[in-house]
């Protein structure tokens, strides 16, 4: 009896594993046209992506230095091999739902030769290629209310692709104030 039960359990596991592998396999259609490569990361329960070209690197944000008299969405600054990079907290900036259970903190540094900033992320997922047939038009109902400002596309598997150009041109994230001045 016992053995039968164990056998049944093993078979169930086998089936589940095969199903998971099938699902995990990347779409293989060679006929599909690739749009662009993105780096995927996770903030709370949502996956976000940014085009590889604008990505500098991902580093540990454990040595984040908090800056006094700054808005709450400025998580702090880090020293990245001699460069000072400001790290933004998207949760605070767009009032995303926060479970508050994440302990590991990473910073995804984006930028070009003129602009550079970091985004506070919870997990780095990896690199992936986004195909053109995956891309859906940004739908306000599916995305967070505040995000459209920076939103570029959303894929079918609910990957939110951020628009680097919009981030770069957003004036509201530039803090230019004297100490004591009222901040937004």
């Amino acid at each position: 009896m016992k053995k039968e039960k164990e056998l049944e359990h093993e078979r169930k596991q086998e089936i589940l594993r095969a199903r998971a592998a099938a699902l995990a396999a990347p779409p293989t259609g060679k006929d599909r046209e690739a749009a662009f490569d993105v780096i995927v990361f996770r903030i709370c329960n949502e996956h976000y992506g940014i085009e590889c070209g604008f990505m500098r690197e991902v580093c540990e944000a454990n040595t984040l230095t908090m800056i006094p008299c700054t808005p709450a969405w400025l998580a702090g600054i880090i020293n990245l091999r001699g460069r000072i990079v400001a790290v933004l907290d998207l949760i605070k900036l767009f009032n995303l739902p926060d479970a508050g259970t994440e302990t590991r903190k990473l910073a995804a540094v984006i930028g070009d030769h003129e602009f550079e900033c970091g985004i506070l992320i919870h997990e780095l997922i990896g690199q992936r290629t986004v195909f053109k047939d995956e891309i859906q038009e940004a739908d306000h109902r599916t995305a967070q209310e505040a995000l459209p400002k920076w939103l570029k596309n959303i894929t079918a598997d609910r990957l939110i692709i951020l628009d680097y150009e919009k981030i770069r041109n957003d004036k509201s994230i530039i803090i230019d104030a004297e100490p004591g001045e009222e901040l937004m």
């Binding site: 780096i39 590889c52 070209g53 990505m55 780095l124 690199q127």
Partner: protein, 656 residues
């Protein structure tokens, strides 16, 4: 008379109040009068003595001046000249002597000549009569005496016709040329002395003062007789007793005596002390007041006090009567009721008097007593009838008792039969007890073996305990090691994470490099998959490790439980040993008990024999009690009679 007083509270109380009022009054009065009289008499005696002493001094003065003047005159040249000069003019002598008698202190002078043995000169008195009366007279005798003693002298009262009355002389020798030539005789003024003594000052109505000589005759007038013109000088003599007392006394004194008027009087007396000047006169001065005059004020006081006492007595009588009536009135009322009560009439009623004193309380208490007496008597009457009923019941009970006693005698016979059976049973019980005793001994040796086995079990258990302890320690060590493996796994996981990060960063860099970086991107992808694999492995390892940790902790728990169980086993085996011990002890106790049982069985047999004897005596006692019950029956009959008597007695009291 005595019965008359003791028969009534009224009379007693009146008498008592009178006595209480009058006895102290009488005592104080008596004491007061006695002391007042004493003081009064002393005061009077002192006053009298003062008067007497004053007058004595005045008399002494008068006599002294007479003697002094006679001496002075006798030494006068104008007097001596009568003898020295033959033709001496006697008018000179007149002049000299008149000066001396000018104050009226002296009545006259006579000069006697020794040579002529006759008076040769007179002043203030008829010379012829003097000369005529001189020969063989007392005066002549006196003159010779003066010459003989050659010093001034007094001649006591003599009846002297030339002076037309009594006369008294002071004589002094006249010295001429160293010889006594004659005598100067001074006629003492007697009326002056009389006046001194007749002075009524300090002597009251009946008081008198006078001089007496040692012959008992008065030398000055008696005041009372003087008023009645009865001559008293040298006529009236005091009583002999008084005379004796006066002249025997050394000092001035006072006392009660019978005076010349035959009346009792307080007399102060003392001799006239003329020793310094002359020894011729032995006189005494007396001052007296008659007793009835002295006692008049004391008598008046006594009279007043007696009147006051009578009035007070009357008031006391009245008060006593009032008090007595207020006390006795309710008492008399009470008495009549109490007399009725004594005759057995309990129906009497006494009116309550509103009084706060003891009589009020008495009457109230009497009423209460009457009430309770009435109640008690009726209760006694009830009680008597109850008693009669009870006695009837008692006699019934007594007959029952007699029947019961008979039954008891029968029962006793039955008991003795039963007792024989008990005796048999006791024999059997003794045999059984001996058997039990043997069995107990056997069991005792078995329990000894059991004891030994238990001790061995305890030793084994402690060995197991030590082994368990060692096992527990090992498991704890194992647990610590799995902990450190967990730490290592964490580190590996961390490394995998960082490799992943690096792989992604490398991929980014490769992407930046474009077509040239494609090969590098493949490498980066490989590194990333490696990192993921190692991550998965560590996850598996940590899962296994978790299981190991759970297993060790359950092993620890099991060891703990095991050691506890071993301890409990030790305890159990110890208590088993104790139980076996206790069992052995109780078995030996029961062996003892069985031997005691067999012994007591024997005693029981003896006891039952004694019981048989006792039953015999009980039987005798039952017979006696039967007799007693008969006596009880007689007694109940006489009690019935007694109850009847009691009833007739209580019926004498009327309660309604």
């Amino acid at each position: 008379m005595f019965r008359f007083i003791t028969g009534s509270i009224n009379r007693k109380l009146v008498l008592l109040v009178m006595g209480v009022t009058l006895i102290p009054l009488a005592m104080t009065t008596f004491l007061g009068i006695w002391m007042a009289q004493d003081a009064l008499l002393k005061q009077l005696a002192d006053g009298l003595d003062g008067t007497r002493s004053d007058r004595t001094n005045a008399v002494i003065d008068h006599l002294q001046s007479a003697l002094r003047d006679s001496e002075f005159a006798a030494s006068q040249r104008r007097v001596v000249g009568l003898f020295s000069e033959p033709n001496f003019d006697s008018s000179n002598t007149d002049a000299a002597l008149k000066i001396l008698s000018s104050k009226g202190e002296h009545c006259g002078f006579i000069i006697y000549s020794t040579e002529k043995n006759a008076p040769v000169y007179t002043l203030g008195i008829n010379k012829d009569e003097v000369i005529k009366a001189f020969p063989n007279s007392k005066l002549e005798e006196f003159c010779k005496k003066v010459i003989k003693d050659d010093k001034p002298k007094f001649l006591d009262y003599i009846d002297y016709p030339p002076a037309k009355s009594l006369a008294m002389f002071a004589g002094c020798p006249i010295v001429h040329n160293g010889k006594t030539a004659g005598v100067l005789l001074l006629l003492v003024n007697l009326s002056h002395m009389d006046n001194i003594m007749l002075d009524p000052t300090g002597l009251g109505k009946t008081g008198e003062s006078f001089i007496i000589g040692d012959d008992g005759y008065m030398r000055t007038s008696c005041r009372k007789r003087k008023l009645e013109n009865i001559p008293s000088i040298m006529k009236i003599k005091v009583k002999d007793k008084m005379l004796d007392d006066v002249f025997k006394a050394e000092k001035a004194q006072s006392g009660f005596m019978v005076n010349s008027h035959d009346a009792e009087a307080l007399v102060a007396y003392g001799k006239v002390d003329l020793k310094k000047i002359s020894n011729d006169l032995n006189w005494a001065v007396l001052a007296e007041i008659e007793t009835h005059e002295i006692k008049a004020p004391v008598d008046a006081i006594i009279k007043n006090i007696i009147i006051a006492s009578l009035v007070l007595g009357l008031i006391a009588c009245l008060l006593g009567f009032l008090v007595a009536r207020s006390v006795s009135k309710p008492l008399l009322a009470l008495t009549s009721k109490v007399v009725k009560l004594a005759n057995g009439d309990l129906t009497v009623e006494i009116e309550n008097v509103k009084r706060d004193d003891e009589i009020g309380v008495l009457i109230e208490s009497f009423n209460r007593m009457l009430f309770s007496l009435r109640e008690q008597t009726s209760k006694i009457q009830e009680g008597t009838s109850e008693l009669a009923t009870a006695i009837v019941e008692i006699s019934a009970a007594v007959s029952e008792l007699a029947a019961n006693s008979t039954e008891t005698a029968t029962a006793i016979t039955e008991i003795s039969t039963t007792m024989e059976e008990v005796k048999q049973t006791t024999h059997v019980a003794a045999d059984k007890a001996a058997h039990v005793s043997e069995t107990a001994n056997r069991v005792s040796s078995i329990s000894e073996d059991g004891n030994k086995a238990t001790r061995e079990a305890i030793n084994g258990m402690s060995n197991i305990k030590e082994e368990m302890m060692a096992l527990a320690e090992n498991i704890v060590k194992l647990s610590g090691q799995t902990q450190s493996i967990g730490e290592i796994i964490l580190t590996v996981n961390d490394l995998a994470e960082q490799s992943n990060l690096l792989a992604v960063n490398a991929a980014i860099e490769a992407a930046k490099a474009g077509e040239f970086g494609k090969g590098f991107a493949v490498v980066a992808q490989e590194i990333k998959s490696l990192a993921e694999q190692s991550k998965a492995s560590t996850r598996q390892v940590s899962g296994i490790l978790n299981e190991i940790q759970q297993a060790t902790s359950s092993a620890v728990m099991a060891t703990e439980r095991g050691s506890k169980a071993v301890e409990a086993g030790v305890h159990l085996s110890e208590s088993a040993g104790e139980a076996i011990n206790t069992l052995a002890e109780s078995i030996s106790e029961s062996a003892d008990a069985t031997s005691q049982i067999s012994a007591s069985g024997k005693q029981q047999i003896i006891g039952i024999d004694q019981l048989a004897v006792a039953l015999d005596s009980i039987r005798t006692a039952t017979d006696q009690s039967l007799k007693g019950v008969q006596q009880l029956e007689y007694a109940s009959v006489s009690m019935k009679d007694l109850a009847a008597k009691l009833k007739s007695l209580t019926e004498q009291f009327k309660t309604n």
